[in-house]
Amino acid sequence: MRLRFAAAAGFAVLFVLISAVLAYQRGSRRFQNEYEDNPAPLPADASEKTEYAFARLRYESGRFGGYWGNYAWATDFSKADRQFVQGVRRLTRIHTRSVEQVVDLDSDEIFKWPWVYAVEVGRWDLGEAHAARLREYLLRGGFLMADDFHGTYEWDVFQLSLSRVFPDRPVVEIGNKDEIFHVLYDLDERFQVPGIQYWYTGSVFEKDGVEPRWRGVYDDKGRLMVAICFNMDLGDAWEWADHPRYPEHWASLAYRVGVNYIIYSMTH
């Protein structure tokens, strides 16, 4: 009897200890994610409350996930995010958090982050409910930067979901004179920014996405709600900006475009 009681007490103590350890780990991993594609170290000031955080959209890929399954949204995550915001902090006066914020269309949390980044959108598959949520987010004043998708097939996949978000709004080429290319840096001279695949293919484009396209969706008052970086991979440029083999001029343009998109979304 006494042995049983001792064993039960032992199990209870063990359970409490294990729970405490897990809770601690959970707390310290608040900004870590099991889907991290390229994990980056957690900065010491990760918990700082700031005006802006790099919000990464966690979307569903459904039937278009392919090799990525349902995790295409996590491409380059979290190194690209954290490396890019270092640049935002250094180059602007935006009070920026050192770590990203992952946001879902299911949660109201997304509305607290009016700038959101979606990667590999040639693999997203938004249902009607998610499309409606994204539309509402954008109409309230949110801003979406879509990046890292290439060629006709991925464009069609992207368009399929985007047309559910805005059935009646066209996707148009953003003109050189648009404020988004001048709000901080004058970006009249833009070129294709390839991803890391350039190392092993030697090609600046992927699939049949030869021409870089700077496209967007405007609201009724001529303000960009969605900025689409098609046939390029700015996320990779942010991610590998510190790598000696990744050319500086591509990383530099990717940073400047990203910074302009953020400041545009905070001013328009």
């Binding site: 409350k49 700031t50 005006e51 802006y52 180059l91 602007t92 006066r93 935006i94 009070h95 109201d108 509305f111 607290k112 009016p114 509402e136 109409l139 309230r140 004043g141 949110g142 709000v183 901080l184 008052k221 953020i262 400041i263 979304s265 905070m266 001013t267 328009h268």
Partner: protein, 750 residues
Amino acid sequence: MFELLFKYPSAVFEKGTFVFLASWPAWVLIAAILAVAAALAWHVLRNRGRLEGRRPVALWLLESGMASLILLLLWQPALSVATLRPQQNVIALLVDDSRSMAAREGDSTRLEQARALLDGGLQAALEQKFQVRLYRFGQGIARIRSTSELSGAAGASRVGDSLREVVAESATLPLGAVVVLSDGADNSGGIDLETISEIRRQRVPVHTVGFGRHQPARDLEIRDVALPARALADSRLSARVSFRQHGFARGKARLVARDGDKVVASQEVTLAPDGVAQIASLVIPAGAAPGARSFRVAVEPLEGEENRENNTLTRLVNVGQARRRILYIEGEPRWEFKFIRRAIEDDRSLELVSMLRTTPNKIYRQKVSSPKELEDGFPAKAEELFGYQGLIIGNVEAGYFNAAQQELIREFANRRGGGILFLAGRAALSDGAWARSALAELLPVALADTAGTFHRDPATAELTALGRESVICRLEERGDKNAGRWKKMPQLADYQRVGDAKPGAVVLMQVNAGSGRPAPLLVTQNYGRGRTALFATGGSWHWQMLQPHTDLSHEIFWRQLLRYLAGDTPGQVVASTPRPVLNDDGRARLRVDARDKAYCPVSNARVEARIAGPEGASDTIELSPQPLEEGVYTGEWAVAKPGSYLAEIIVRRGEEEIGRDVVTFAREDGVAENFGLAQNRELLEKLAGETGGRYYTAADAKQLASEISYSEAGITTRETRELWNMPVVFLLAITLRTSEWLLRRRWGVV
């Protein structure tokens, strides 16, 4: 009774001077009284016998009183009083001939009562001693032969103006006194101090005889409607309606505002107890179309109301079409900046020119009118900054502005009359060292000189009682609905702790962060010619992002806040009139405040008013500088016909045109006499009291004939009235002696 005891009417005592007729000086009397009192004290003390305590003192007082009275009479006290010489003075009888005097009360009208009083003996009694001039007054004054010429048809009664005219005649006539028979329902703004002092200077007593009930049995009357004379298109106006009722206490009434026949606002109110002045707010949309708007604000007639004509007042509002430019300086990119800009993007009345510090060395400008505007950063010259009507200082530390710019910002509110709004932020307010800056006095709250006051934590905005009434916080027309909507608003993204509101500042919202007492969130105050406000958050954008995109709460709030900020900012030339609606009044007074580009008063300008009215009426007048107010010019214009008028004011200095402004006014006839129907006894008493006259009711007005003689105006003679034989003196003597005798008997010392 008074005359029975004191022999003379009270007027003799009020007007007369106390004198002694005996040749001995007054100090001898005092010395004699003291000596007799001392001798009596010595006598009483020596012979007090069994009397102890206060009893000998009481006997001494009675004996001394009697002795003093005898001594006083030996000095022959008298009153010296000026009296009008019979048959040599003129008495002016002014009878109110306005429509309110035709109001029937009981069997007769007020005018019939006045006529009965005059014809029943008062006029004849006066005519026995004086030359009597009979006048009737209304909008003007006219001499009449008899009371039969009174009709009770004048559209207004101007007691002050009429008196001024009559008193002016005393320069050539021996005017002994003026008698005003009226209900006191003056509706031309009362009697000004100038008139009162003119009458006092002439020493002409004005006696008043009041007619009419002091209060109606069942009536509600709008007393005033305070509505801004100018408004921006699409803005909301707060009308403060003051009214009073009798006979409908705690009942319900409906306040309604109409633009033409269209009801633009309405609200139900619960009526206060009888006779208590009540104020209610009504939010009226100014409308989109520019130009002069005429709003009729009314309390819907109540069942059984005696007078339904006093339930409506008309007010003119000039809806301007000029866009108000507001300069917004923001220290760093942030969501609040973006959403404020979006909120007023569609507003036709406001334009937000912004400068944003995107990097340590770059400023991003939006809505600038030319590439030159704000090219060198925040304005350093008055002409540049004063070109805006409002200023928003966002998340910017105080040290960003140099000393000259700080002084310019202060003068922007103080001299230019602009509005300044301070927002919260990690480099704003206390965290931006504003508490230590010279501009701390601009803020409507006290700031603690400490850091760490800005918190990026959710907090709830709560309306205060004043906030519920304010048009800034009015998201819904109806007050209860508005309060309910604010309760459902999402939490703010952040807030900043500030100290208490300064005296005179108005707290419209408080922030509740869940712990600690609520702190001021939205505070406004007047500063100099302008105003300053504080909104202690940079996170109101949550009201936009956390509510459906169709919800316009955020937009409405910001538009109203910025309209408050810049809507009332004056231009270089500001024209106004104290009474835009002239009720049965034929004089429009114009006032112009002229300033140069640095908003310093212009004293050597030529100010012209071009007036256009109904049926092609037009005129041009020149306004004169006011001697005591630099840069202020005034003028008066006779409004001959009822209708709406527009005056365009043009201010020039030499060849240079300083600016223009427009002011509208209207004349309405047949309205004024519907208001203030109860007898205004307060006015009549004040008039009599200030001029040395007396107020009489219709019942006791017969005494007037005997009392009116005592006056220092006109041709007078000084008469002496002895006082020794007043019955009250003998009564006093008997009382003193009898009291002493009775006390002595009671105490056994007879």
